[in-house]
Amino acid sequence: MKRRQFLRNTISGVVLPTFLQGISLKALAGTPGLHARHAVLNDDRVLVLIQLAGGNDGINTVIPFDQYSAYTAARPNIYLPAEKVLRLNGFDATAFNPAMVNMQHLFNEGRLGVVQAVSYPKPNFSHFRATDIWMSGSDSDKVVSSGWAGRFLQDIYPQFPDNFPNEVMPDPLAIQVGAVVSTALQGPLFTMGMAISNPAGFYKLVEGKVNVNANSRWGEQLDYIELMSQKTDQYATVIKNAAQKVTAQSPVWPAAGKNPLADQLKIVSRLIAGGLKTKVYMVSTGSFDTHAKQTETDTTTGTHAKLLQRVSEAIGAFMADLQFLQTEQRVMGMTFSEFGRRIKSNASGGTDHGAAAPVFYFGHAIKPGIVGANPVIPEKVNVNDNVPMQFDFRSLYTSVLQNWFNMPAQDVQQILMGDFAPVPII
């Protein structure tokens, strides 16, 4: 806080150059960094985070095709056939799961990239703890109760929630589709996000409907409370207005209820196009905890393929819709999962909790391609072999905060509680 005060004062003309480790104020003032807070407030860039809860099996998602024989040896019961995997333009060594057709297209068009083997030192194998680490952006052995995106928003809007919404920021700072705002959006003191309970709830809000329970005494009372609850949400009106500005969305969206992630992203796209100044959106899809039978006998089908197909289809439709609504320059997205899975598949046709895994990022303004190398699959794979980390997940966040949101490096270090080298994704 004191540091912020100092920056404010320097901007308004109090010259105390030595405080910034000898760097003269003039030089600092010349960089976009010093005005970043202002810039972040005014730019209309948006980050969409997609959580793949349960721990996505990275190796069957982004296949180390250059080590195909080692790959099949490590995963005799679930490996994907060489002729079925999706090849990537300019990246022969790597391929996508056959279920990821839309994401393959995006990759080949240069609008989607992969960062290989993302994790953090001393990875944790508990879903809950590992999720908390990803959400909070803490070291593995530190417990931090605020979330990295929450701290980012708190840095831009330090007064929140007092006197919010206001003219400068009439909209929710962050929106989570889901009933509980996730840890990632938790600020140091307050949660910086608001939750839209679920897609069905969202459309009821937009249309001003409530669940009709009125065929009983308690049901009629409940309807009244629900209606009042909709009316009183301080952000309900702005969300409703934003949604109502968008009267048509891309025809490529799957039908409602078919793809839960697509349903969530469709709402996000609509709100972005509707003009909300909300900086961060978070959506989530689960069931990636594939301990058993993650594929059918035909390994291109089954649970994992279905999950990836949904993710791929949802991201594909989302990107198409951004273009349809002409918001594509404003948006970038990123997936994350609390961990990857073991290199060797288990006897139940599944994979157990592992370490590093690939992260996908997408948008029209990103630097496409694959960052990092394929994980090395040992010739003789051991049941406990894990994909070692190539990139700390906080390096990706650093890139997003620094290069997408134009936050000054010092602020980013403070938000992420350390100095993490950015990765070339934006």
Binding site: G178, V212, I225
Partner: protein, 538 residues
């Protein structure tokens, strides 16, 4: 959509007796239903439970004390920690402090209630014989008035009206003390009929002449305030109107003969006899009880099947309250599924109910300053949600109990609903801190008393059964499991992640990361559950 009528009768309920029925009965008759009480009474019978609620002698609470010395004021007369009801001095410095002490104390009476109907009935009668502390403006009178409500809470209604009529606080509040033969004041004479006895229903046809006549009967009562602790109402024959009082056809054109001297006080008893001969009195009170304990709307069917026979019981028992409550609360109608969950919790039900249901530990007597301050925190919360005990909006009480068409829906507004959720969130997150003391929900301790907390399905089912009066949609429970307890992990196969975390908490309580994980999940779960509209119903 038309809400189906609930047509079941006052006949004795003979259906299933288990935790859902006990919970329904306790949530309506106490402030919140605690798990241990539900379990206890579920192992007994309805009859036993009703007997217990109605006939257990609950000790009279110790009077409010001086917890209020601060940097600006020290009460020279009343020692810190001693009761101020014996005080002989009242001034601008101690009056407000004692009023706050009183409100905190009363809230404490509710929090510490035993499993009897008494405290709920005290609140019922406070709403019925509404007085405002800010008008009465005398903490001693206010305390004595409250003692009176408690004394008669489950007693005889007619005797209660008699006592209230000559109670100092009421004499002050409705100007009975200014009602003299030279300058009769109609205020109390009117409210006695309109609000306290015959009411304003279609069966009540008292006239303006009756108001005037009643006022004249009541002339002469005033407050004897020579000495503060003994302050009380007295009959002053010199101020009494000794002429005859003529009542209207509604009261069978009865005349109350004017009496001379001290005898004048007896006219009050004649007046009450005259009023209580009207069958409308019993109906009016029964309707109010119905709204308080069953459902806000008294439809035609309920008027005929419930109110009429209940009023009959009331009259047959010479206006004793207990037989009426016993009949209503043991009835098929009360336990009808159609009536369960149909009341929106009052702020006091919500706030006190939460503290009791979660067994929140308040500071003990030895820390009486913190104790009173914590009680006052909860009182303030209820007040912010628009139920300020001691200071209802006016003499009619809270609109939730009389104002058509909203009734208890009027508790819920764009102002109060967010406050309700802010309160439930706060009690999970940080609670209230007073120096070294803190009142806060302990989610782990609470969960430990459940039968199978390691099974996420049973945990959610059991919590839902305790916290809600109505069934929750299956999808909602599913969401709570996968979205909160399992954080996106789905399916039966993933349940063990929660089970493992819970078991680890029991086996390795020193594993701080796990304790934190489990605690946070339970906190999120409780916050979510209490933020649902279902939590507002009882």
């Amino acid at each position: 959509m038309e809400i189906p009528a609930v047509t079941s009768s006052l006949k004795k309920y003979k259906g299933k007796w288990g935790p859902p029925e006990v919970k329904h009965l306790l949530k309506r008759t106490l402030f919140g239903a605690r798990k241990e009480d539900i379990d206890l009474f579920a192992s007994k019978s309805l009859r036993h439970t009703i007997q217990h609620l109605l006939h257990t002698e609950e000790p009279t609470p110790a009077p409010p004390i001086n917890h209020y010395n601060d940097e600006k004021y020290t009460d020279e007369e009343i020692q810190a920690g001693a009761t101020w009801i014996t005080a002989t001095k009242l001034n601008g410095m101690n009056s407000g402090r004692r009023r706050n002490s009183f409100k905190a104390w009363w809230l404490g009476c509710m929090l510490n209630q035993q499993t009897t109907l008494r405290e709920k009935m005290v609140l019922f009668w406070h709403n019925h014989f509404a007085t405002e502390m800010k008008t009465v403006d005398n903490p001693t009178m206010i305390y004595k008035h409250n003692v009176l409500l408690r004394q008669y809470a489950l007693g005889n209604f007619k005797a209660m009206v008699r006592a209230i009529t000559v109670d100092a606080a009421m004499l002050k509040y409705l100007n009975g003390n200014a009602n003299t033969r030279k300058a009769p004041d109609e205020n109390y004479g009117r409210e006695l009929q309109e609000l306290f006895t015959v009411g304003k229903g279609p069966g009540s046809q008292y006239t303006e002449e009756d108001v005037k006549a009643a006022a004249r009967v009541l002339t002469g009562f005033r407050i004897n305030n020579k000495s503060l602790p003994d302050i009380h109402g007295v009959f002053d024959a010199g101020r009494h109107d000794e002429s005859d009082k003529q009542f209207s056809a509604f009261y069978n054109n009865q005349v109350i003969k004017g009496r001379k001297g001290k005898e004048g006080e007896a006219e009050l008893d004649e007046l009450l006899d005259l009023i209580f001969r009207q069958p409308e009195v019993a109906r009016f009170i029964c309707r109010k009880l119905y709204r308080f304990f069953v459902y806000h709307q008294v439809d035609e069917a309920s008027e005929k099947n419930i109110i009429e026979p209940l009023a009959h019981t009331f009259r047959q028992n010479n206006y004793d309250i207990k037989p009426v409550l016993e009949r209503l609360l043991s009835s098929r109608h009360f336990f009808d599924m159609g009536n369960r969950g149909s009341i929106i919790k009052s702020p006091v039900d919500l706030a006190v109910g939460l503290c009791r249901e979660f067994n929140i530990t308040f500071p003990g007597e030895e820390s009486y300053v913190e104790q009173y301050n914590c009680w006052f925190n909860i009182q303030t919360i209820a007040s912010q949600m628009q139920q300020n005990i001691g200071d209802p909006p006016n003499v009619a009480g809270w609109p939730a109990y009389y104002q058509e068409p909203l009734y208890d829906k009027s508790w819920i507004s764009s102002d109060t609903l967010p406050k309700r959720t802010a309160f439930t969130d706060r009690m999970v997150n940080n609670g209230f801190a007073r120096t070294s003391k803190k009142i806060l929900i302990d989610p782990v301790l609470y969960t430990k008393q459940l039968s199978a907390p390691g099974d996420p399905n049973k945990l959610i089912d059991e919590l839902a059964a305790l916290l809600y009066a109505v069934e929750l949609p299956v999808e909602e429970k599913q969401y709570m499991k996968t979205g909160i307890l399992l954080q996106g992990l789905q399916g039966m196969a993933s349940d063990h992640y929660w089970t493992d975390a819970w078991n680890k908490l029991l086996e390795k309580p020193a594993d701080a990361a796990n304790v934190r994980n489990v605690t946070n999940k339970l906190k999120n779960l409780l916050k979510y559950m209490m933020s649902l509209p279902q939590y507002q119903l009882m």
